[in-house]
């Protein structure tokens, strides 16, 4: 192939590419003009469904040893506390008389209850005014709660303080019991309610729950105003 032929070929290739690119640009412009409302609707809808990053399915709950505090002040300012996030292991519940010791998590989803006891997110943290509601499966350790007696001590060690409660009541009620719901809303005392499925030794799903109510005896009170 001589130089003239090569030049002609290069020119033909260049021209072909240029025309193809023009066709491509014009095609997209046409499509955009015709389908603009649909394209805008679809792209804005997709933006709503997108996360800032890919979801991580490997995430596991933080378990193992947590840094429990040994400081026992009478009061702590809430601003000094780093409250746990959802699914965070932030404490331990122990009842010495029952030889019960379970990790305490923030949240009470199924995945949390697999690991230990879970605090209902709509309830207050130990030390705050109100009721702390904690649930656990009876097949694990919470089944032992059946043998708890009035005035027995329940200890909760958290990352910000150690709390001691005394049992005031033990009752079996429906899971949607209005009295428990009322206690959950109270804003006078620092209370704790532990619950599990009832009957303890029964198999199958049930609507009955065993509720253990306890009052705070000692532990740093959280000052919510500071």
């Amino acid at each position: 192939m001589n130089t003239v032929c090569k030049k002609q070929l290069a020119k033909q290739i260049g021209l072909g590419c240029l025309i193809s690119i023009c066709f491509f640009i014009l095609n997209y412009c046409f499509v955009y003009l015709v389908a603009r409302p649909v394209i805008q609707f679809v792209s804005s809808s997709i933006q709503v469904l997108l996360l800032s990053e890919s979801p991580n399915f490997e995430r596991t709950l933080s378990s193992g040893n947590i840094k429990k505090t040994s400081i026992n002040q009478a009061e702590i300012n809430s601003s000094q506390i780093q409250f746990p996030k959802y699914g965070e292991h932030y404490g331990e519940i122990s009842i010495p008389t029952l030889k019960l010791k379970v990790p305490l998590y923030f949240g009470d989803s199924e995945s949390i209850l697999r690991e230990g006891a879970g605090q209902y997110m709509g309830s207050v943290f130990p030390g705050e005014v109100g009721t702390t509601l904690v649930g656990g499966h009876n097949i694990d350790s919470f089944g032992k709660l059946l043998n708890i007696q009035k005035n027995e001590q329940i200890d909760i060690q958290t990352t910000y303080g150690n709390y001691h409660y005394a049992v005031t009541a033990k009752k079996v009620a429906n899971k949607a019991d209005w009295q428990i719901a009322k206690e959950l809303r109270q804003q006078k005392n620092r209370e704790l309610i532990l619950y599990t499925c009832y009957p303890i030794d029964s198999l199958g799903l049930t609507n009955e729950r065993l509720f253990i109510t306890a009052n705070l005896i000692s532990g740093p009170k959280i000052n919510e105003n500071n």
Partner: protein, 284 residues
């Protein structure tokens, strides 16, 4: 000179219109062959390993239910067999596209197996069952089957397929119309050409324009990474939707690449013919 330029412009315009209509035709054809076919969905279910992912999730959920029912999770471990999910999944996809209602198959066998395992567990633990307890066990078994059903009936999928199927007839009409339009325009363009060489050069341009249009957009979407950021928090459904979208997107890229390769082949033929005619002219 002026006449020749006008003719050339008209030919290029026809070539562009042909490229656009071909682009529309192939895009619609791509949609028809993917979103509206149960086989495509079935392939994506297999490719995304939906059955094994969902089996893992189902068994975890049933184990959670077992914990709440005072039954050791080990007892109901692997309660739902792989074959049952696979069979029902195929059945579900087929019923979606045929408009029939879905009923879970093999439900009774699974229920029987669950009852057997629980009764064995109760006997091992020396737990005496009474009427109340049997009711609770039945509730647990029903709840487990509900988990299976919910996992197989992928949320929003039925709605999506219904919506897509509504446009099937319209889409078919558009495909036929666009196909006819491509043939007519290309016929018109070829009639204005003096030689086969010219026809080949225009075919190469049309294919290149359409090929580029099919490749560039989907390629941007593919590498843009938005598909991996879809806000679905269930792993099995996330994997399925992602595979579904990626394969759909890849189909257009593949079609575009084929057209570009064809365009290059036509261009090479055109160059060879030009070179041959140049040599013949020189000889004569």
């Amino acid at each position: 000179m002026k006449k020749s330029l006008m003719k050339r412009t008209a030919q290029l315009f026809l070539a562009f219109v042909c490229s656009f209509v071909l682009f529309v035709f192939l895009s619609l054809f791509g949609v028809r062959m993917t979103l509206m076919r149960s086989t495509f969905m079935q392939q994506q279910v297999n490719q995304s390993q939906y059955v094994s992912n969902i089996r893992k999730e189902m068994n975890t959920k049933i184990q959670d239910l077992a914990r709440g029912s005072n039954i050791s999770p080990e007892v109901v471990k692997d309660a739902i067999p792989y074959a049952l999910i696979e069979k029902n999944m195929t059945q579900y996809v087929n019923t979606l596209y045929s408009g029939r209602s879905f009923t879970l198959q093999g439900e009774e066998e699974v229920k029987k197996e669950l009852y057997k395992k629980i009764n064995q567990y109760a006997a091992d633990k020396k737990i005496k069952t009474d009427e109340q307890m049997n009711k609770g066990i039945a509730q647990f078994v029903d709840a487990s089957m509900q988990v299976v059903k919910q996992a197989i009936e992928i949320p929003y999928l039925a709605n999506f397929v219904n919506k897509v199927n509504q446009y099937k007839a319209t889409l078919n009409t558009f495909i036929i119309e666009a196909g006819i339009a491509v043939c007519v325009i290309i016929g018109m363009l070829f009639m204005t050409c003096r030689s086969n060489k010219e026809r080949i050069s225009f075919t190469s341009l049309i294919l290149a324009g359409t090929g580029l249009s099919l490749v560039v957009g989907p390629l941007i979407i593919y590498f843009n990474d938005w598909m991996s950021r879809i806000g679905i928090m269930t792993q099995s459904i996330y994997e399925f939707v992602q595979t579904y979208l990626r394969t759909f997107d890849l189909l257009f890229i593949k079609m575009g690449i084929i057209l570009l390769v064809l365009s290059i082949l036509f261009f090479v033929t055109f160059v060879v013919l030009t070179h041959k005619s140049g040599v013949t002219k020189q000889k004569t």
